[in-house]
Symmetry: C2
Subunit: 110 residues, 2 copies
């Protein structure tokens, strides 16, 4: 799973959101670093839906504009949890090695 996909699932983990709200939440989550493109978002939404990780929650019409809300399915929740565990483990391994490097004397000029 790539970063944008992971962030979309994380956005939907908090509460059902419509497309545009996902873009905004991902931006807020990453301190503005990740600005999801419309193309990325809607393609990912379709893909995640056909994979059964998300589903349409409801549709609302606000100011005569359609809002389609998506929510995480049980499978999506499991998938996000597994991915989160993986991220945490890999970060821990890298962290350990980076620390060991710095401990091994200021060291080799790279």
């Amino acid at each position: 799973m790539r970063e944008p996909t992971f962030l979309i699932l994380t956005a939907l983990a908090e509460e059902p959101r419509h497309g545009y709200a996902v873009i905004e939440d991902v931006s807020a989550m990453t301190g503005g670093r990740v600005r999801l493109r419309a193309g990325t978002l809607y393609a990912a939404l379709d893909r995640l839906r056909s994979d059964g990780l998300i589903d349409v929650d409801r549709e609302e019409v606000v100011q005569s504009r359609l809002r389609r809300y998506y929510r995480l399915t049980a499978a999506g929740e499991r998938s996000l949890a597994a991915e989160t565990a993986r991220l945490r483990e890999q970060a821990a391994i890298a962290d350990r090695r980076l620390r060991a490097r710095r401990t091994d004397l200021g060291g080799a000029p790279a």
Copy 2:
């Protein structure tokens, strides 16, 4: 940065390694989940080298076969550290939301 690239940098963070040793370390690190393909590895190595994140450490001939060892540069170390921090943060956010979900009552059948 995608997962294979991150894992390659992590493999080199421990000590200089040659290509094949990177494949083995990545496999060990991920409990056998990630088996880097030769195509993935050498393309990534070339790319990382031209990006200045890794460099050739030395070359050895073992059993008349060449072994090219790569090491992390200072830039590579910084890049890996930044990426690690990003992973840790995103995992923490997702974790928080997943926990909140479970707390919010066993909840909605997805």
